[in-house]
Structures are given as structure tokens and as C-alpha cells.
Subunit: 153 residues, 2 copies
């Protein structure tokens, strides 16, 4: 394991890569995202300090995700996801987070997803542009702006 610094905007993994590492964020903030066939960007995860970022892929399949830094950051690099977790509880927590995400995507409206996000990640709401939050929620920035102004009434 080694530690590396990443400057804001720097990319440490690309979609299509055939090898991927796992990172534990020690400082600041990264994100992982994908670009779909229509060319649209979707944020998969925000990763503040203490979180893991990695592309969770089946063996021998290419990466889907890009990973870059939203602020000047620092991460611990692990050569693969399996040796990153002596205690499986960390992996189970990640499963729990992804499960909740799927449940939200399937059952909640745009404004409900936003309010849930505000509750769970109040600090991130302050640190990233609103259009990135929209991207994470699976809606357009225009739609997010609209539902927020409707809620205000």
C-alpha cells in the first residue's frame, strides 16, 4: 500500500481500463462517474475522507467508471479490492449503501431523492456544484432547480 496525492481535476482511473485499484480516501473528496452511450455523465459515488472508491467489476471485465478528484486530495492505494478489506464489514456496508441507492432510484421522486441526499450527506451538498448532485440523483440540473423552487412554496 502506498499513499498518493491527487490534485483537483486529476483522473486516477478511466472507463475501459483493464486493471483497477481500490482507494481509501484519506483527505478531501473524489468522485466516480460513468459516461453512457448517449454521452451523458452520471455520478456514481462521492467519496469524502474515510470512504472507499473503486470500480466494482466482475473479474476480467473492463472498468465502467472514471475516478477523479473534486478537491486536492490524498488516497491510500491498494492493488486490488480483495486485500483492502481484512474486515468484511466494510464491504457489507458498501453493499448496504448501494442497496439503499437502488431502492431510492426505484421508488422515490426527484425531490424525495434530493431530500434524502441532503440528510445523509449534508457536507457534500455544500462542497459540490448542484449539477453534480443532480447527476448523482439521476436527474437534470434543470429538474433539480425546478423541484427545489416548487418545494419552497
Amino acid at each position: 500500500m502506498k499513499i498518493i496525492d491527487i490534485t483537483k481535476g486529476e483522473m486516477i482511473q478511466r472507463s475501459g481500463d483493464l486493471t483497477s485499484k481500490a482507494y481509501i480516501v484519506t483527505q478531501e473528496l473524489l468522485r466516480s462517474y460513468l459516461v453512457d452511450e448517449k454521452g451523458k455523465e452520471h455520478i456514481f459515488t462521492f467519496a469524502p475522507a474515510g470512504w472507499i472508491v473503486a470500480d466494482n467489476r466482475l473479474p476480467n471485465t473492463p472498468c465502467d467508471l472514471f475516478i477523479d478528484a473534486l478537491e486536492d486530495s490524498q488516497v491510500e492505494v491498494y492493488t486490488n479490492a480483495t486485500d483492502l478489506d481484512p474486515q468484511p464489514q466494510k464491504l457489507l456496508n458498501r453493499l448496504a449503501v448501494l442497496q439503499k441507492r437502488i431502492i431510492m432510484l426505484m421508488s422515490a421522486t426527484a425531490i424525495e431523492r434530493y431530500e434524502h441526499f441532503e440528510e445523509i450527506y449534508p457536507d457534500i451538498v455544500q462542497r459540490v456544484p448542484q449539477k453534480m448532485i443532480a447527476s448523482y440523483l439521476g436527474i437534470t440540473p434543470e429538474a433539480l432547480s425546478k423541484v427545489k423552487s416548487q418545494r419552497a412554496k
Copy 2:
């Protein structure tokens, strides 16, 4: 670990339960699903033989999912998810599956999601009613019926 038989329709876990177990399916087919605040049912996972079914939840939080059998089935019961996986690769695979699912929900249309499902789970398409597939895809049975008939042209 012990093995139990489950008859079609039998429920082995309920949303709100404060304890949950993990199951490896040895025979036939189970599903996990949730009921949202509007009372609508959403299938979270189909679990054919060889798969794991479990509610992936953070420690000390109640279950979100119901788990029941779609056919007469048999499972191995593990008292908790951590002792179910000596080899972490299984957990990583589950992460990969959930990640793909989120990507599909965020970036694909109804018919694209259906075609992806057909590719990945051809056997399940044959075994469960179409409305359950719609529920898994995050759309209504009517919408699935519509896009399939449009595709036929």
C-alpha cells in the same frame, strides 16, 4: 449452518425485522423485494440456485426487504452475512452486480433495461411472470408490454 426447505409463497424475512440472516440458494428460486411508502412493490433481486439472498443493511438498522420463494426451494441459512463469505470475491461480485444495476437505472430506457435483463437472466425470463420482471426493471407491467410490442415492429 443449516438447510431449510421453503414452499412457494413462503416468506423467510420481512421488512422491519431487526435481525436478518443470509441465505445461499441451493434449489429453485427466491426473490427479495420492498414495499415503498406509496404501497408499491419493487423486486430487488431474483435469486436462483447458487446465488446469495440477504438484506444488505447497515449495522443496527431494520431490514428493508421481504424475502420469499417463487418456487418450492431450498436454502442454506447463515446466521449473519459476515460468516457467509470466507472468500471476499463473492461479496465483490455482489457489489459489481449492484453497481451495474444502478448504472442501468440511471442511464438506460425501459426497453434497454429489458433487453439487458433478457441477456443476463434468460432462464428467469421464462420462469417468472412478466409483471415481476417489470417490477425488477423499475417500470409498470403496462409499460413493459407497450415497449415490447413497439420493439416487435
